[in-house]
């Protein structure tokens, strides 16, 4: 791999990777059973440079911001390379957000360029919020049909200029990207990540999970997500490895991709990992009794022989059917975005497929702790990565307290939010809002959250404040949405739920009609945003001088209620 300590910026490292690994395969893009293309680093560079030159010719300069809203595909990475080459700041946005949410973040980020796909632009171009986004100067759209109305955009494929672009150097402390860790509510949290953040994180992660030419990473998590950006782009590219993009996430094609492309690593969210577990378990359960007995015996042997550390070659021989279904070359599955249940991690490890579980926040780079598999532990989120200082603030008698991190990978702050930044980073320590403790082996255990939020199995961060709008003007005196575990900690990071706290007008009760209205409104929310229970609170909500609900004070009042009796299932 490149010696990243010698580099100042992502763009500089990627530029040299193009030279060093020019003949190696860097990208494979497939659409179902069809392979769209297979690019070497040289091919990749030849496709990116005309775009970089066209951006430069249009006036795009160092520090300018360019957003990408695309599904995972080769043009995502080619565009990002061109942005970094020209000294730009990348603003990767989630293609699954609604169009008005995307416009909000485009405006907030100050992006002057948007690179997106035609199907996304078709929705975005006519959505509310476009007129207010006056900072946007150019929109480049990929794969637009021949006679499509581009709504003021230009075709990505035609946005190119002849001649070599000029490489624009950046320093480590310069802004490399703005990554939104949330932002569907009133206060977008745009994490300002520097080149130093990425270079340091890449060194730390690849020391545990290395890439090299010939390694193939299947990119399924959205590339705008910090994990896929690192292990599905920057990490493999600085090591000469290849990234495989599928233009579909249908399980049948994802399954086929493992053997077809000889996948080495893949990243998944817990929901997909659990689905894989369910599918495998069903196949094992369908085995005839005798075969099942033999299979179970081999799993037990594998488990015993890999107790201290993984032995991939041995597991592949003991359980060839399982490993061949994953292509025979899978070294690890990386799971992220949300907490994973230990029994799911153990299920795969017992089959000889290590799952690299860990813990991270966009604000801290990609990962803070990762399981180093020496030995595998399903019950923890691993040890701090090299270069990460992690401590527990104000531990209670059981040693649990807020997890705080200090590292070169921690963001420089939230864009345009100095107060929010000052609350998040105190004396150089990032306060994560998560609660946990270290065990004697130095593994971190997470036990709950200090912050009022939940994370779904799909890796979505849900803030209760964002849900309250759905219940606006409900005929009650006042209402508030909370993460139930924020009020009554459960010492668990799975199965988190939201509750709706209601305070009635004098003499008012929870009638069937009101309950029906709450259910109706709740059902209009996306499934992962729905509240699961109601709490009727007898007193006025504490408020500040400007009549804003003091959530923490309200929580302190609710804590006194018994969860089991206070929460009525909805």
């Amino acid at each position: 791999m490149l010696d990243l300590s010698q580099y100042q910026s992502i763009g500089e490292a990627l530029r040299d990777a193009m030279q060093k690994y020019s003949g190696e395969i860097c990208l494979i893009e497939a659409d179902r059973e069809r392979e769209n293309h297979r690019l070497t680093y040289r091919d990749f560079q030849q496709r990116a440079e005309p775009l970089a030159k066209a951006l430069q010719d249009s006036g795009f300069a160092a520090g300018d911001r360019a957003s990408i809203i695309m599904t995972n595909q080769s043009k995502w990475l080619i565009s990002a390379y061109a942005i970094f080459y020209t000294g730009g700041v990348l603003v990767p946005l989630d293609y699954k957000l609604t169009a008005p949410q995307q416009w909000d973040l485009l405006r907030h980020s100050g992006a002057s360029v948007l690179i997106t796909e035609y199907p996304i632009w078709r929705q975005l171009s006519v959505a509310e919020g476009r007129a207010a986004c006056t900072n946007l100067r150019w929109v480049l759209v990929t794969e637009a049909p021949a006679n499509a109305d581009l709504g003021g955009a230009q075709r990505w494929e035609e946005f190119s200029a002849a001649g070599a672009p000029q490489f624009v150097p950046r320093e480590r402390r310069d802004l490399a990207s703005i990554v939104y860790s949330s932002g569907t509510g009133g206060q977008p949290k745009g994490c300002m990540m520097t080149h130093d953040n990425y270079l340091e994180q890449c060194v730390a992660l690849t020391s545990l999970y290395p890439f090299w030419p010939g390694v193939r990473y299947l990119s399924i998590l959205p590339t705008n997500h910090a994990i896929d950006f690192m292990v599905g782009f920057f990490g493999p590219f600085t090591c000469g490895a290849a990234v495989v993009h599928l233009r579909t996430l249908r399980p049948e094609f994802v399954r086929e991709a493992f053997p077809k492309y000889q996948i080495t690593y893949v990243s998944l969210v817990p929901l997909v990992l659990k689905n894989l577990q369910k599918g495998l378990q069903a196949r094992f359960d369908a085995l005839p009794a005798r075969k099942r007995k033999v299979f179970d015996f081999l799993v037990r042997v594998n488990k015993a022989l890999t107790r201290s550390h993984p032995r991939l070659w041995l597991s592949r021989r003991l359980l060839p059917q399982v490993h061949n279904a994953f292509g025979g070359g899978l070294r690890a599955m990386i799971v992220g975005g949300a907490f994973t249940e230990p029994q799911t991690l153990q299920f795969f490890y017992d089959l000889g497929i290590p799952v690299a579980n860990g813990y991270g926040l966009t604000e801290a780079g990609t990962a803070i702790t990762v399981n180093d598999l020496k030995p595998f532990r399903a019950d923890t989120v691993g040890k701090p990565l090299p270069g990460m200082e992690v401590r527990i603030l104000h531990p209670d008698a059981a040693g649990n307290g807020e997890v705080a991190v200090r590292s070169k990978t921690v963001m420089s702050g939230y864009l345009n939010e100095p107060e929010l930044t000052a609350r998040a980073i105190v004396d150089g320590w990032l306060h994560t809002g998560d609660l946990g403790h270290f065990d004697a082996q130095g593994h971190l255990h997470l036990v709950g959250r200090k912050k009022n939020m939940i994370v779904t199995e799909e890796g979505k961060n849900i803030y209760p404040e964002d849900i309250e709008g759905a219940f606006d003007s409900l005929p009650v005196k006042e209402l508030c949405v909370f993460a139930a575990d924020y009020i009554w900690p459960r010492r668990s990071m799975v199965g988190e739920q939201l509750i709706l706290v209601l305070h009635f007008e004098p003499g008012q009760n929870l009638t069937d009609e009101l309950r029906r209205e709450i259910v109706r409104r709740n059902n209009q929310l996306l499934n992962f945003k729905r509240v699961h229970g109601l709490v009727v609170f007898e007193n006025d909500f504490p408020r500040n001088a400007s009549q804003k609900v003091l959530r923490d004070s309200l929580r302190d009042l609710l804590v006194g209620l018994d969860r089991a009796t206070a929460v009525q299932p909805l």
């Binding site: 659409d31 179902r32 599904t71 595909q73 293609y95 699954k96 609604t98 169009a99 796909e117 199907p119 996304i120 078709r122 929705q123 975005l124 233009r247 579909t248 996430l249 249908r250 399980p251 049948e252 929901l271 997909v272 689905n275 799909e458 059902n523 209009q524 929310l525 996306l526 499934n527 992962f528 729905r530």
Partner: protein, 81 residues
């Protein structure tokens, strides 16, 4: 077989109701299928695969980005029939 957009829309609604086991007639063209059916993205992909088989067409995932109501889904299908 030539279908009108209305017929295609009705077939989409019927198939979604059967697949997710909700009472026929409870789904409307303007409904957001994520919200109405309470489904996640993986379940939405299952529905797309069933629709592909039913209509004998291919619906690329990326062309469905931002589509969340049955009417638009039916229009995208109709344009490929």
């Amino acid at each position: 077989m030539t279908r009108t957009l209305d017929q295609t829309t009705q077939e989409v609604l019927d198939l979604a109701a059967r697949h997710f086991q909700v009472a026929p007639g409870t789904l409307a063209p303007s409904d957001d299928f994520f919200r109405k059916l309470g489904i996640n993205s993986l379940q939405a992909l299952e529905l797309l695969s069933r629709l592909e088989n039913h209509f004998s067409i291919e619906l690329p995932d990326y062309e469905m980005q931002g589509v969340s109501d049955f009417q638009t889904l039916a229009e995208r299908i109709q344009s490929r029939l």
